[in-house]
C-alpha cells in the first residue's frame, strides 16, 4: 500500500477528481489492487475504526444467528447501518454515480488499512479473514442475478454458464429417474473441482472429469474459495513487508492499538479497587460471584491446599483484578499452602511467583488478568490441572454434573449444555451467569456476553450489592460508542471507543486456530 508518494490531488471524501466510473466497475470487489492516494491521518483512523465496527458486527451477529437466514441479514444490516461505512457496505437505492464511486473507495481503503493492522499475527490474520469472508458472503447474497454476473465479469473470473445441452445433461444426472426440475431459470457454471472444495466435500455438486457443475446459487461458495486464497496470501505478504515499510511513527502505534481493541477491556493497571477485597472475603465471594473457572480453582486449592503453575497464574491474576492486594494475596496463598508444605518452601518457591504477578519481581510488568480468549485458547489443562475454561475443557458429563449443583432446573442445565455442545463456551458461561443470578429463565435468549472472568465478577457484584438500578449489561449486539460506560471501564485515551463484546468463536474456528498453533 502506498501512501504519500503520489502526485495525485490530496483526497478528501468528496473530491470529484476521484470519482471515475471505471475505477470501480462494481460495488463489490476482491481487493486485489491496493489504493494509491493520500489521505489525512484522521481519515485513515476513522476508516479503520468504522470498518472494525462493521467486522465486529459480522462476528457478533454470526454467533447468535445462523448465517444466510432472514434474521441474520436483517440484524447485520441494522448493525452496519449504525456505522459510518453503511453507504459503502450496504446496498442503497439510486445513488449518484459520483457518490457510488466514493462509497466504493471508502470500502476499498478501509479494507486495506485493516490489513495492515491485522496481518501481524496468525490469530489476527485468521480473525480478519473469517470476518471479511462472512461480510463478502452477506453482501454478495444481497445482489440480484444480473449484478452477480456483472461481478464475475468485473473481477475477471472466467466462470461462464454452460450451454443448454450440457445443463440438460447435468440436471438429468442430478435428478436421476425421480423427478424433473425446472431448469430454465437456473444457470450452471463449470469450475475445476479444486476451486469448489466445500461443495465437493459435502457431495453438493455434480462432478465429471474433474469439473464441478455449480448452480448459480452455490456460486458464492466458489467465490469465497477464491477470495480466501487471495486474501490469505496477501496477508502473509503484507506481514512480511511490514518491517521494511517506511513508517514515520504515526501509523504503527495506531494500528497496534486498533488490533488491541479487539481484545476488549483488560482489567489491568489503573485499577482503583486495590484493597477492596481481603483474603477472608474470598470464600464468600467465590460462591456466587466467581465464574465457574475460578470457582473450580478455588475449590481445588481449598481441598488440596495446592495449585499447579497454570492455575496459580490464572487464579492469582484474577484475584488481583478483583482487588486483592499483594499482601492479602500472600496471606491467602500462604495460609492454604502451608497446610501441605512448610513455610520455608512456600516463601522460597511460591511467594516469588505471587510477587511476580504484581510486578514486583523480574521485569516488573504488572500482568493483566487473563481474558476468556486466552483461557480458552492457550495452555489447555492436562491431568492434574485445574485451570482452563470448564465449558471448554471439562468432559461434558462432568460439567453437567457440576452445574447441576448450583440449584438450576433441569431445563436450565440443558440450556447451558446446549451452548457447550455448540462450542460456544462464553455464551454458555453467560447463560450460567443469568440462571444463577436469577435474571433470566432457561428458555430465553442469552443477552450478555462474557469475555473476561473479572467482568463476570463485577457484573455479579453489581447485581448483588450495587445500586438498585439494573446494571448496563452489554446487550448482545450493540457496537456503539459507549456513553453509558460502567465505572470500571478503563478510560481509553482516544476519543472513539469501540466497546467490543466478543471474543467468542465457534468450535471449528477454535479448532482451526489450535491446528495452526501446533
Amino acid at each position: 500500500m502506498e501512501f504519500g508518494n503520489r502526485t495525485r490531488t490530496k483526497s478528501k471524501t468528496n473530491d470529484a477528481s476521484r470519482a471515475t466510473d471505471n475505477r470501480y466497475p462494481h460495488r463489490l470487489q476482491l481487493y486485489t489492487q491496493p489504493p494509491s492516494d493520500t489521505i489525512s491521518l484522521q481519515e485513515f483512523e476513522e476508516l479503520a475504526v468504522e470498518r472494525l465496527k462493521v467486522l465486529k458486527a459480522v462476528e457478533t451477529v454470526g454467533i447468535t444467528q445462523q448465517k444466510g437466514t432472514v434474521k441474520y441479514n436483517e440484524l447485520l444490516e441494522k448493525e452496519i447501518a449504525a456505522t459510518k461505512l453503511k453507504d459503502s457496505i450496504l446496498r442503497i437505492k439510486s445513488v449518484h454515480p459520483e457518490k457510488e464511486s466514493d462509497n466504493s473507495y471508502r470500502d476499498h481503503l478501509s479494507h486495506f488499512i485493516l490489513r495492515l493492522a491485522y496481518c501481524r499475527s496468525e490469530d489476527l490474520r485468521r480473525w480478519f479473514l473469517t470476518q471479511e469472508l462472512d461480510l463478502f458472503r452477506f453482501r454478495f447474497q444481497m445482489e440480484d442475478t444480473r449484478s452477480r454476473a456483472q461481478f464475475l465479469n468485473a473481477s475477471n473470473l472466467k466462470y461462464k454458464p454452460v450451454s443448454r445441452e450440457e445443463k440438460n445433461y447435468v440436471v438429468k444426472q442430478l435428478d436421476g429417474l425421480d423427478h424433473m426440475s425446472n431448469i430454465d431459470d437456473i444457470e450452471y457454471y463449470k469450475v475445476p473441482f479444486t476451486e469448489a472444495l466445500d461443495l465437493v466435500r459435502n457431495r453438493k455438486v455434480f462432478l465429471q472429469s474433474g469439473f464441478a457443475y455449480v448452480p448459480q446459487d452455490d456460486l458464492v461458495s466458489i467465490l469465497l474459495s477464491v477470495y480466501r486464497t487471495l486474501l490469505s496470501q496477501a496477508l502473509t505478504v503484507t506481514a512480511r513487508a511490514l518491517p521494511s515499510m517506511e513508517e514515520d511513527g504515526r501509523l504503527l502505534p495506531m494500528l497496534c492499538g486498533l488490533s488491541k481493541r479487539y481484545l476488549g477491556q483488560d482489567y489491568g493497571a489503573r485499577q482503583q479497587n486495590v484493597g477492596a477485597v481481603t483474603a477472608d472475603m474470598i470464600d464468600m465471594l467465590s460462591k456466587k460471584s466467581f465464574p465457574l473457572c475460578m470457582q473450580n480453582i478455588h475449590t481445588t486449592i481449598r481441598h488440596t491446599h495446592h495449585l499447579r503453575h497454570g492455575s496459580r497464574l490464572q487464579y492469582g491474576l484474577f484475584l488481583k483484578g478483583i482487588g486483592l492486594s499483594l499482601e492479602e494475596a500472600l496471606r491467602f496463598f500462604r495460609t492454604e499452602f502451608i497446610k501441605n508444605t512448610d513455610v520455608d518452601t512456600f516463601d522460597k518457591k511460591y511467594s516469588y511467583g505471587i510477587r511476580y504477578n504484581y510486578g514486583k519481581e523480574g521485569k516488573k510488568t504488572d500482568y493483566t488478568p487473563y481474558g476468556c480468549m486466552k483461557i480458552i485458547m492457550n495452555n489447555a489443562p492436562a491431568t492434574g490441572d485445574s485451570h482452563g475454561c470448564p465449558f471448554r475443557h471439562f468432559d461434558t458429563d462432568f460439567l453437567k454434573q457440576r452445574i447441576s449443583t448450583f440449584g438450576l432446573t433441569k431445563d436450565g442445565v440443558e440450556g447451558v449444555m446446549k451452548y457447550v455442545k455448540g462450542g460456544h463456551c462464553q455464551v454458555a458461561c453467560a447463560k450460567f451467569f443469568e440462571l444463577t443470578h436469577g435474571i433470566s429463565d432457561s428458555s430465553s435468549e442469552v443477552e450478555m456476553f462474557i469475555q473476561h472472568p473479572n467482568q463476570y465478577f463485577e457484573h455479579s457484584q453489581k447485581l448483588l450489592n450495587g445500586p438498585a438500578k439494573t446494571p448496563s449489561t452489554p446487550r448482545g449486539v450493540k457496537i456503539v460508542n459507549s456513553q453509558t460506560a460502567t465505572s470500571r471501564s478503563s478510560g481509553s485515551d482516544t476519543s472513539i471507543k469501540v466497546e467490543t463484546m466478543d471474543e467468542t468463536m465457534s468450535q471449528e474456528q477454535m479448532q482451526a486456530m489450535e491446528d495452526d498453533m501446533v
Binding site: D175, G176, T194, V200, R201, N202, R203, L207, S209, F211
Partner: protein, 418 residues
C-alpha cells in the same frame, strides 16, 4: 508355475531370503521409471523421502537416493523388511538436518487411499482382524470398482495404481500431476466425497442418505447390486439365522417396519437368505409407498453399510504421509505387494499372489540365461509368477509416459504458434 510354495514361507527365513529378492527380483528399472516421472522436474526422484524398516523393527526415516543405481545399492545393502514412500521435499531428505527446519517442506506426493479389511469386521461374518478369505475378499473387489469409477469419471484422474498390500488390504496411488500437487484441503475433500460410512462402535446406522441421492451414490449402489447374490446372499449368507438377521433389521429406522420384519423372519416367513432378502426389500418398498417412513433409501443404506468402501481419511489427507511401497514383501505372509489391474479385478485372488520363498524356488528351477528377440537378457522377474504383475505395472507406466509426451507436444505447439 506352482502356487504350493505359498505354504512354504517361514517368517524366520526372511533375513536370508530378502538379499536374494533385492538382488534378482525387485524391479528396479520400472520402479525408478515410475518415481522419476520422466525427470520432470529433474530432482523429483532425489528429493523423494523413503523410509526403511530393518530387522528388529529398526526404523529409518528421511532416506533418499540420487538415482536408480544409488537406490539399488542401498536396498541390496540394507535389505529392509519394509519400504515406505513419502513426499517429494524441497531438499534431499537425507540432508534435511543441514537445512533450516522452516525451509525443509514436503511439496508433492501422489494422492493415496488405504483400505483395510479390519475396518469391515462389523459387517463380515467369516473372518475378523488380519484374516481374509474368499468369502469376504469381494469387499475389496467392490471397493476397487467403486473408487476407480469415481476417481476416473468424477475427478478426471487417469493414472491410478492399485496395489495389494500383501495381507489384508489394498492401496491406491493416484499419480496424475494434478493429484500430486493437491493441497491437504483438496485431498481431504476428495476423501470426504468418497466417505459414506460414518460412526464407530456406538453407531448402529452408519449410513444416512438424503432424500435426493447424489449420482456417485447411485453409481456405487449399481455396482453393489451386481454382487448381492454372489456376495451378500451366498458368501456372507446375510440373513441366515436370527443372530444375523437381527443385525440387518437393526438398520431399519422405522420402528413399525422393523417390528414387522422381525415378526416375518421369526415367523418362518422365508427359508433362506435369498427369500428373506426379497421379503426385506418388499417391506421397505411398501413402507415408502404407504408413507410409513421418512427415510426413502433404507435398502440402499443397508447395501452400502455392508459393502461400500471404508477408507482411512487420515492416510489420504497429509502430503507427507508415508505409505507402503509396491513390490516390497509383507513380513507376516511373505507375499509381494503386487499391482492389480482394476479392469480384471474380479479375477484377482490374493491367495495366489506370489510369495518371496515361492519366487526364489521358481528362480532355482529356471532355464539359465534366455535371451529375448532383441538378444537382450530377459529380466529374472519376468520369468517368474511375478511377470504378469509386472505387465500391469508396465501398462500403468506407459500411460504416464504418453501423458507426459502429450503434454510436451502441447507445450511445444504453443511455443511454435508464434
Amino acid at each position: 508355475l506352482t502356487n504350493m510354495s505359498a505354504t512354504n514361507y517361514d517368517q524366520n527365513c526372511l533375513p536370508d531370503l530378502l538379499p536374494l529378492y533385492y538382488k534378482r527380483l525387485f524391479p528396479y528399472g520400472p520402479y525408478y521409471k515410475w518415481l522419476n516421472y520422466g525427470g520432470i522436474p529433474r530432482h523429483y526422484f532425489s528429493h523423494r523421502e523413503f523410509s526403511f524398516t530393518l530387522k528388529d523393527d529398526v526404523y529409518l526415516r528421511y532416506q533418499s537416493f540420487s538415482d536408480q543405481q544409488d537406490f539399488e545399492k542401498e536396498l541390496q545393502k540394507k535389505c529392509p523388511y519394509k519400504i515406505d514412500i513419502g513426499a517429494v521435499y524441497t531438499h534431499r531428505p537425507k540432508e534435511h538436518k543441514t537445512v533450516k527446519s522452516a525451509a525443509f517442506q514436503a511439496q508433492e506426493k501422489e494422492l493415496v487411499f488405504d483400505i483395510d479389511m479390519t475396518d469391515y469386521d462389523d459387517v463380515r461374518s467369516c473372518c475378523s482382524g488380519a484374516d481374509i478369505c474368499p468369502k469376504c475378499w469381494p469387499l475389496m473387489t467392490m471397493a476397487v470398482k467403486i473408487l476407480d469409477r469415481a476417481l476416473r469419471e468424477d475427478f478426471g484422474f487417469e493414472h491410478l495404481l492399485w496395489v495389494y498390500s500383501g495381507r489384508r488390504g489394498i492401496h491406491c496411488w493416484i499419480c496424475d500431476e494434478t493429484a500430486r500437487k493437491l493441497s491437504p484441503q483438496g485431498r481431504s475433500a476428495i476423501a470426504e466425497y468418497l466417505t459414506l460410512i460414518k460412526g464407530g462402535e456406538n453407531q448402529v446406522r452408519k449410513v444416512n442418505l438424503p432424500d435426493k441421492l447424489h449420482p456417485s451414490i447411485r453409481q456405487a449402489v449399481t455396482i453393489i447390486n451386481g454382487y448381492i447374490v454372489d456376495y451378500l446372499m451366498e458368501k456372507q449368507d446375510l440373513l441366515d439365522c436370527e443372530q444375523k438377521w437381527k443385525k440387518v433389521v437393526a438398520l431399519v429406522p422405522a420402528d413399525n417396519v422393523r417390528e414387522q420384519l422381525l415378526e416375518d423372519f421369526c415367523g418362518k416367513l422365508g427359508k433362506d437368505s435369498r427369500s428373506r432378502w426379497k421379503i426385506l426389500t418388499t417391506r421397505l418398498e411398501q413402507a415408502v409407498q404407504k408413507n410409513m417412513t421418512k427415510q426413502l433409501h433404507v435398502e440402499d443404506e443397508i447395501k452400502l453399510q455392508f459393502c461400500y468402501p471404508r477408507l482411512d481419511v487420515n492416510v489420504s489427507k497429509g502430503v507427507n504421509h508415508l505409505l507402503k511401497s509396491p513390490f516390497c514383501i509383507h513380513p507376516k505372509t511373505g507375499r509381494v505387494c503386487v499391482p492389480m489391474d482394476p479392469r480384471k479385478i474380479d479375477e484377482f485372488d490374493p491367495m495366489t499372489v506370489p510369495t518371496i520363498s515361492g519366487l526364489l524356488d521358481e528362480l532355482d528351477s529356471l532355464e539359465p540365461a534366455e535371451n529375448n528377440d532383441q538378444g537382450k537378457k530377459i529380466k529374472d522377474y519376468k520369468k517368474t509368477s511375478l511377470g504378469p504383475f509386472l505387465e500391469v505395472f508396465e501398462t500403468f507406466l506407459q500411460g504416464l509416459e504418453s501423458s507426459r509426451k502429450g503434454k510436451l507436444i502441447e507445450q511445444s505447439d504453443i511455443k511454435m504458434e508464434f
